[in-house]
Every structure is written in structure tokens, then in C-alpha cells.
């Protein structure tokens, strides 16, 4: 049985109290309340009524819910691997000894550092039917013969969202991978050069395998973040056309603003459970051990 000093317990409690109070009131209690609310019929101006799992039964037969679940999953499956792939290229560039290294790092950080809602506006202009850069370039090099209405058809809107998301989050992946890359001892590469391993061999036999832990971290981080995607879609496509690009967060949001708190809560709970499972996998794979303390 471990013993603790009373003085230590008291001091640590005081030091941690603000953290506890804030996270409790603005993160944990709200989440618990959402769980409880999902068991109620809680519509604004109507009497609150306990309905047990009725909201969840509705979800099962709600095609809008399934559509947004499907969209969210496909969006993650397409965009996250793309971000990892590009992220690896970015990392190699960032790690390479070139002039103006600091400038390149700043440029790469910028898309990540700006608000997603603002990046959505930038891309909205780029995709614009009459003034957009995409149509301008594609017309000039004659890939298309007339302007495309990017955000008006389901498939092109999906592609547009994926590209905008890849632009915004690849830098983050690159930074995570860079830390992993720099942890690889240089001696291994010297030895490989002496052994006449060429560039591709060095990349596939040394870099990639040793980068694997960092790649897994980046993959999970991005997945957890992509599950709750909201800002980009809210501004760029508003979930349209016809709800085809509505993510789970946006679907729940639409019920919140119409005042149906109970049903919105049940969607949020499903979303919460999905991302909770993903974060538990992350915490397990991330090998967070007590030794770090």
C-alpha cells in the first residue's frame, strides 16, 4: 500500500482545483447532460418528457442520420490517408537541408494555423463558378470546356471538401511526422550510404518503418478530428447539395438550432461514442506510460 503525504495531497488538490472546476463545468458535465437529454423528448416550448431510447429508435429509421454517418465515414476513409501520404512528402521537404528553411516552415504552418471557417471561404472563392481559380485554370489548360459548378453536385462537392480539408490539415500531419523523422538516429543513414543503399531503398527500408509509430499517431489524431468535422462543411457546402455532404456534427447542429434538443443529443451521443472509441485506441497505441512523469 502506497502512502501519501497529507501536505502533498492538500497542495496538489489546490493546484489542480481550477483545472478540475473548468473541465468539469464546460466539458464533462455538459457531455453527461447530453447523454441524459438524449433519453428525453426535449423540444423547445414543449414539455420535457422521458422517453428512454425512443430517440435512438428514431435514429435507426432516419435516412438523414444514415446518410450523414455514411458521409462522415467515407470522408475520413478518403481524406485521412491522402493527408498522411502528402504529409510524408511535406515532412521530407521540411527535413531536407535547403536554404530558406524557416520560410518554408512558416508557409507550411499557415494553412493549419488559420481558422477552418476562413479557409472554407478561401476555397469557396477558388471553387466559384464564375470567378474561381479552379475553373479558370482547368479552362485554360482545356481539361474542361465550360465552367463547372463545383459545389452544386454531390460528387464534386465531396471532392471539393476533401481537397480543402487536405490543404488545411496536411501541415499538421507533416509536423507530427517531422518529430518522428528527427528522432531517427543519423548513424543509420550513414551506414546505409556506406552499404550502397540508394535513396529509395533508404526511404522504404529505414525511414518508413521507423516512422511507423509517428504515422499511427498522426492517423489517429486526424481521424479523431475528422469525425467531428463541422466548420469547413458549414461554410463551404452547408451540408448540401441535398444533404449529401452533411457530417454527423452538422446533422446534430441542424436539430439543435430547430430546438429539438433531445434528438440532437442522441445524434451527439452516437458521435461522442465513435470518437471516444477512437481516442481510447489512440491512448493505447500512443504508449502513454507513467515513466514520462
Amino acid at each position: 500500500m502506497k502512502t501519501y503525504y497529507k501536505e502533498d495531497l492538500k497542495t496538489s488538490f489546490i493546484f489542480l482545483l481550477p483545472v478540475f472546476i473548468l473541465t468539469l463545468f464546460f466539458i464533462f458535465i455538459p457531455v453527461i447532460t447530453t447523454f441524459i437529454n438524449s433519453l428525453f423528448r426535449d423540444i423547445i416550448f414543449l414539455n420535457k418528457r422521458f422517453v428512454l431510447f425512443q430517440n435512438y429508435f428514431y435514429l435507426l429509421s432516419d435516412s438523414g442520420f444514415w446518410q450523414s454517418l455514411k458521409f462522415t465515414i467515407i470522408f475520413i476513409i478518403i481524406s485521412v490517408p491522402l493527408e498522411i501520404f502528402l504529409g510524408i512528402i511535406f515532412t521530407l521537404v521540411l527535413n531536407y537541408e535547403i536554404p530558406y528553411k524557416g520560410f518554408i516552415r512558416v508557409c507550411v504552418l499557415l494553412p493549419w494555423a488559420i481558422p477552418a471557417a476562413i479557409s472554407a471561404r478561401l476555397w469557396e472563392l477558388i471553387y466559384n463558378y464564375s470567378y474561381g481559380l479552379t475553373n479558370f485554370i482547368l479552362l485554360k489548360i482545356r481539361i474542361i470546356n465550360e465552367p463547372v459548378n463545383w459545389l452544386e453536385t454531390g460528387f464534386s462537392a465531396f471532392v471539393a471538401l476533401v481537397i480543402a480539408d487536405v490543404w488545411k490539415t496536411t501541415p499538421f500531419v507533416a509536423i507530427i511526422l517531422l518529430a518522428g523523422l528527427q528522432a531517427i538516429p543519423k548513424e543509420i543513414y550513414y551506414q546505409a550510404v556506406i552499404d550502397r543503399a540508394n535513396f529509395l531503398q533508404r526511404f522504404f527500408k529505414i525511414t518508413l518503418p521507423l516512422l511507423k509509430p509517428a504515422i499511427i499517431i498522426a492517423l489517429l489524431f486526424r481521424t479523431i478530428d475528422a469525425i467531428r468535422i463541422f466548420d469547413l462543411i458549414y461554410v463551404l457546402t452547408k451540408g448540401g447539395p441535398g444533404g449529401t455532404t452533411t457530417s454527423l456534427s452538422l446533422y446534430a447542429y441542424k436539430y439543435y438550432i430547430t430546438g429539438d434538443f433531445g434528438y440532437a443529443s442522441s445524434i451527439s451521443v452516437i458521435l461522442f461514442i465513435i470518437s471516444f472509441i477512437a481516442s481510447i485506441i489512440y491512448l493505447k497505441l500512443g504508449k502513454f506510460r507513467q515513466e514520462v512523469l
Partner: protein, 275 residues
């Protein structure tokens, strides 16, 4: 030797690709914001002008400067408090002995991964009861709380790198825990404080959903929501003004990233990877 040359060319191309991929949207934003007409298909019309910037600065009904002011104040206050609170907590976690220490740390870390949508029902009702809707407090309180996990994690990783004997000897010399913390440990963790502060600031500056739900107009509305809601008078979007507003409000972010690139990258990796 031949291979080395090939690699150099490859990296040069890759660098160009990375740079243009990252910068093109920003360059396009700048071009449109300085153009009289944003109809780039008829190239003959392109004409340099400041009128878009003058319009968003001069027209009080657009409230562009209000949004930027709100964003800076809200994010600044949130960042300072978040780092302060997280530093106290991180010090206790790295220096003192108490039960369930590691579980508490993991639990708080996990909370930063929760979807924001799963708390807005409660937050909206709470802020309504407190009469905080459309005030700075309505955003500052959740922003502090939601940026605590990242700040806490960064600070713990910095504190745990400082030898424990250092503050032990201070305690032996008769300092209290608080004095040891303030005089010896805190000055050694300045880079950590900067990283945590910057990441909290950027989190609050970029946050969208809470601001969308908890603010109504220019009294508290922040930049992301302001830009997302920017509408023309007659339905057609005034892209020149929007891009001028965007460029102006991105200025603080661009300055921060340029000046503190190293701190930000360090903070991000400390928050994500433990070696």
C-alpha cells in the same frame, strides 16, 4: 554522384509543389482583395485598388474591426488563463505525489478529443440562464476549459524534463511549494509557457461552433463567424471585401506563425508524441 543530383532535383520539385500548394489560396486571396473587379476571366479588367480595404475599414455597418477586436480580446484572455491554470495543474502532476495521478492526466487529455457538438446543448442553456449570451464571458469560459488539455500536456512535458532535485533543494532551504514553483521552476519553462499560450490562442482564435451558437452580433461575435456570415446587400457575395476582411483578420495569425514558428512546432509535437 548521379543519384545525388537526381535527389536534389527531386527535392527541388517537391519543395516547389509544397510551397505552391500551401500558398496559392493565400495569394489568390491577396490578388482578389486588391482588385477592382474580381472577374478574372476577363483579364483586361484587372485593376489595382485599395478600395476593398478602405471599404471594410470605413463602413461601420460591416463591423469588421469589431470582429477582429473581439477575437483578439477573447483569444488573448483565454490563452493567458488557460496557461495559468494548466501550469498550476501541471506542476502538481509532475512534482507532487497523489493517487490516480496518471488516470487524471489521461482523462483530461481525452477530453480534448470530444466532439464540441456534444456540449453545445448544455452550454447554450447554461449561458442563457447566466445571461451571458453574446458576451465575451460566454466564449472565454469554454475556450479556457477546452484549451486546458493541450496546455496541461505541454506543461507537464516541460516540467518533467527539469530535475526534481532542483526544487527539492529549494524546499530544504526553506521555500514553500509555491515559492519553489514561482522562483525556480517557472523561469526554466518559459519556452513551454510560450508554446502553450500560442496554441491556446490559436485554438480560441479559430474556434467556430461555440462562437456561432453563443454570440448574436458584433458585440461578441468573432472573426471566423463574422467572415462566414459576411453577406452582400443583394445576395451576390462581394468577394473583394470578403477577401480584404479575410486578409486583415489573418494578419495576427500570420505574424504569430512567422515570429514563433519554432515554439508552435515544438508545442504541437510535445502535445502529440512522447518519446
Amino acid at each position: 554522384m548521379k543519384e545525388e543530383k537526381l535527389i536534389k532535383i527531386l527535392f527541388f520539385i517537391a519543395t516547389l509543389f509544397v510551397l505552391s500548394f500551401c500558398l496559392i489560396p493565400f495569394l489568390y486571396m491577396l490578388i482578389i482583395s486588391f482588385c477592382k473587379s474580381w472577374d478574372i476571366f476577363s483579364l483586361k479588367e484587372i485593376e489595382f485598388t485599395f478600395s476593398n480595404y478602405i471599404k471594410i475599414l470605413k463602413d461601420p455597418s460591416l463591423h469588421c474591426l469589431d470582429y477582429i477586436k473581439n477575437s483578439l480580446i477573447i483569444s488573448g484572455i483565454s490563452a493567458i488563463f488557460s496557461v495559468f491554470v494548466a501550469t498550476l495543474g501541471a506542476y502538481a502532476i509532475s512534482r507532487l505525489d497523489f493517487p490516480f495521478k496518471f488516470s487524471i492526466l489521461l482523462f483530461i487529455l481525452a477530453s480534448s478529443m470530444f466532439p464540441q457538438i456534444s456540449v453545445i446543448g448544455f452550454l447554450f442553456k447554461l449561458m442563457k440562464i447566466l445571461n451571458f449570451i453574446n458576451t465575451y464571458q460566454a466564449l472565454i469560459l469554454p475556450y479556457i476549459s477546452w484549451s486546458i488539455p493541450i496546455s496541461l500536456w505541454i506543461m507537464v512535458s516541460y516540467f518533467s524534463k527539469i530535475p526534481k532535485d532542483l526544487d527539492k533543494s529549494a524546499l530544504v532551504d526553506g521555500c514553500s511549494w509555491f515559492q519553489a514553483f514561482l522562483k525556480i521552476i517557472l523561469p526554466l519553462t518559459k519556452p513551454g509557457l510560450v508554446s502553450a499560450g500560442l496554441l491556446s490562442f490559436l485554438f480560441s482564435f479559430n474556434e467556430f461552433l461555440f462562437a456561432l451558437i453563443l454570440t448574436i452580433d458584433y458585440h461578441a461575435r468573432t472573426v471566423p463567424v463574422g467572415i462566414a456570415m459576411f453577406q452582400g446587400l443583394h445576395g451576390e457575395l462581394p468577394w473583394g471585401s470578403i477577401m480584404a476582411f479575410t486578409a486583415l483578420s489573418l494578419l495576427p495569425v500570420i505574424i504569430i506563425v512567422t515570429l514563433f514558428q519554432k515554439h508552435i512546432m515544438q508545442g504541437l509535437t510535445r502535445g502529440a508524441i512522447k518519446e
